[in-house]
């Protein structure tokens, strides 16, 4: 696991020296299986910072709130960045959403995050517990001790992760980890279904959506000013919660992340209705890579996929 002491030391130095104005990191949650984002400006408060298997949120997201509420970033931010967080930052740089000077990336190689729901109600009922990742095992130690296989309790997006270590960072806490993605069986299965069954699958999924927009808001890359959803004239998507509007919403969301999604899983993690949002995102990410040999969030100087072209792009589908 990550050396939290070292991470705090780095954060303290950054704040004390004035290198950054604020460090965005994770703090303990109100219960043992939750962690929460925290913004620290006082070097004496860095001891709040933690890194445990529940640090699921992508902290790059918090830069967008700063930008939206203050009309731009106020100073320089240190961001505790897992592989996916760093990739979101890089993608934002690529799109000129932020500049390389705006952030100091405190890279943390990420062994993957535990999905509390997969631990089971009896484990979650424990008053307090400590969870550690050790190789293939996830150990929960509380009133009782329980050992899980990593494959059974990590978020699916983490099991499929190819970039656990930030591609770029200003400092890396500890040693980098190589990605060892599992086979994406769900996607392969969905792709193998007949079209009507896929339509039914998504109809069921989108019917559950309550349109709370947690998926959009938790996403580091949904940072547009003037989101299409807020446009009233024309009103592209009505507020009515019914399957057609929900489907329209989710396809717009998925498309807007095509060639941009860094597969952090924040959307799916935030969804209270268990809509398998990452299956859409992953489908598009795989297609993008196959068709255009492009992976978002790797190179701040690359051209954004849909803002660029290659004369040799696939065109077999053109009538």
């Amino acid at each position: 696991m990550i050396d939290e002491g070292r991470m705090r030391e780095v954060a303290r130095d950054l704040l004390a020296s004035g290198e950054v104005d604020c460090v965005i990191g994770y703090a303990r949650g109100s219960v043992w299986y939750r962690a929460r984002p925290v913004a620290i400006s006082d070097p004496d408060k860095v001891d709040m910072l933690i890194f445990n298997p529940f640090c699921m949120q992508n902290l790059a997201t918090w830069l967008k709130f700063e930008m939206k509420e203050n009309g731009g970033l106020q100073g320089k931010y240190g961001v505790v960045a897992k592989g996916c967080t760093a990739r979101a930052l890089i993608q934002m740089m690529q799109e000129n959403g932020i500049s390389t000077d705006d952030v100091y990336t405190i890279g943390v190689p990420c062994p993957g995050m535990v999905d509390p729901r997969k631990l089971g109600d009896d484990v979650l009922a424990m008053e307090d517990a400590r969870v550690t990742l050790a190789g293939e095992r996830v150990v929960v130690e509380g009133e009782r001790r329980k050992v899980f296989s990593r494959d059974d309790v990590l978020h699916e997006t983490c099991l499929l992760c190819r970039y656990p270590t930030p591609p770029l960072y200003d400092v890396l806490i500890g040693e980098g980890i190589e990605g060892r993605p599992a086979e994406d069986k769900n996607l392969a299965h969905l792709e193998s279904l007949p079209a009507e069954e896929r339509a039914k699958y998504w109809e069921d999924a989108f019917s559950r959506c309550i349109r709370c927009y947690a998926c959009r808001n938790a996403c580091p890359l949904c940072y547009c000013d003037g989101c299409a959803l807020e446009c009233l004239d024309p009103q592209w998507v009505y507020r009515s919660v019914e399957v057609s509007e929900n489907t329209l919403y989710h396809l717009i969301r998925a498309y807007h992340l095509t060639g941009r999604c860094v597969e952090c899983g924040s959307c799916e993690f935030s969804c209270p209705a268990d809509v398998p949002l990452m299956e859409l995102n992953r489908k598009m990410a795989r297609d993008v890579e196959r068709m255009f040999n492009y992976v978002p969030g790797m190179d701040p100087k690359a051209k954004p996929l849909l803002g660029a072209y290659d004369p040799r792009d696939p065109e077999g589908f053109i009538l």
Partner: protein, 339 residues
């Protein structure tokens, strides 16, 4: 019949089936692995074991409700208002706190101008409650004048006991509902009454009490406290807390229309969205998350008290349970009281 009756699982199913004959059943059901409150066609789909992630308020205040349809024919505009909801609804598996929540929605929709869609549904409804024998860690209803076995506001209270359920007819309407399966019920004996009492005690013991009264008093001079900035700093401004809340009732009315026809719909709105307070001029009186987070808390614990003399929270804890960034109302209450 203000006494406890025992029903075996068969009797319970018969009861639900009978309710389904006379009411539109609204109950927890599993949909692709997730339990949600919904209108159920088949009584066998009702699943009480897990508390749904949604609250039952949508039975009375649907998230989307068509108010009227309109069309332009020649020079004339034709309006067809939605029909009044006459069919009675039976909400099965509603928790005591949620029944309490409906009592908080009532003054909002029944004070003039009365919202007949809401009040009609409410007046005709039968509430079959389900006592919480194992409260969630997020629950704190006992701090708000209710309890896991509270029968107030219900017509029938069900308690899960070994070998089946015990039912208590709280109101005359509830008595009549149970009457239909009278043959399958037997009076709960001493042992069962003892078990109910034991379960009640256990459930209540499992819950920590928070000093809500002091919290409310402290809010008076906490408006500018840095605590709100600290909480809002992590808020992502989504609608989970308000949409899942059994007492949040804000809505928007929108027209969905083409050039010559369309409909007017009422849809839930959330004070956590920036658009909620956005004015036509472009000015937004609550431009930041801190204003909105604070408003949510203050509305429930102060403004609602000022308006109706009641606290606008029932302690179900859904807002905390499902918050992706762990904004935890219990923690906020303890923290404010502590400061």
């Amino acid at each position: 019949m203000a006494e406890w009756w025992f029903m075996e699982p068969d009797a319970f199913h018969a009861f639900i089936r009978e309710l389904g004959e006379r009411f539109m059943l609204y109950a927890p059901a599993r949909r692709d692995g997730i339990v949600t409150f919904t209108f159920v066609e088949n009584h066998e789909d009702v699943e009480l074991s897990k508390r749904p992630f949604t609250s039952p308020k949508a039975a009375f205040l649907p998230q989307t409700e068509v108010l009227l349809k309109f069309s332009l024919r020649g020079e004339r505009v034709h309006l067809s208002p939605a029909q009044r909801p006459e069919s009675p609804i039976a909400v099965v598996g509603i928790r005591p706190c949620e029944a309490g929540a409906l009592k908080l929605l009532d003054p909002v929709f029944s004070s003039p101008p009365e919202d007949v869609h809401y009040t009609l549904r409410r007046e005709n409804a039968l509430l079959v409650g389900f006592a919480c024998t194992s409260p969630e860690r997020w629950c704190f209803c006992t701090s708000l004048g209710s309890s896991p076995f509270d029968e107030d506001g219900l017509d029938v209270l069900l308690v899960e006991v070994s070998g089946g359920y015990c039912a208590l007819a709280v109101t005359e309407r509830g008595r009549r509902a149970l009457e239909v399966v009278r043959d399958m019920l037997r009076k709960a004996d001493e042992a069962l009454l003892g078990e109910i009492e034991e379960r009640r005690r256990q459930a209540e013991r499992a819950m920590k009490t928070l000093d809500v009264e002091r919290f409310i008093a402290r809010l008076e001079d906490m408006g500018d406290d840095p605590i709100w900035e600290e909480i809002a700093a992590r808020c992502i401004g989504c609608g989970i807390c308000t949409y899942l809340c059994p007492t949040c009732y804000c809505f928007d009315i929108q027209d969905e229309a083409g050039l010559t026809s369309g409909r007017r719909v009422r849809v839930w709105d959330s004070c956590m969205y920036p658009e909620y307070t956005l004015e036509a001029s472009g000015h937004n009186p609550r431009p930041k998350r801190v204003h909105r987070v604070k408003n949510r808390i203050y509305h429930k614990f102060r403004w609602y008290v000022d308006l109706f003399g009641l606290v606008g929270c029932v302690g179900c804890g859904r807002c905390a349970e499902h918050c992706p960034v762990n904004v935890d109302i219990k923690e906020i209450i303890s923290e404010v009281v502590r400061r």
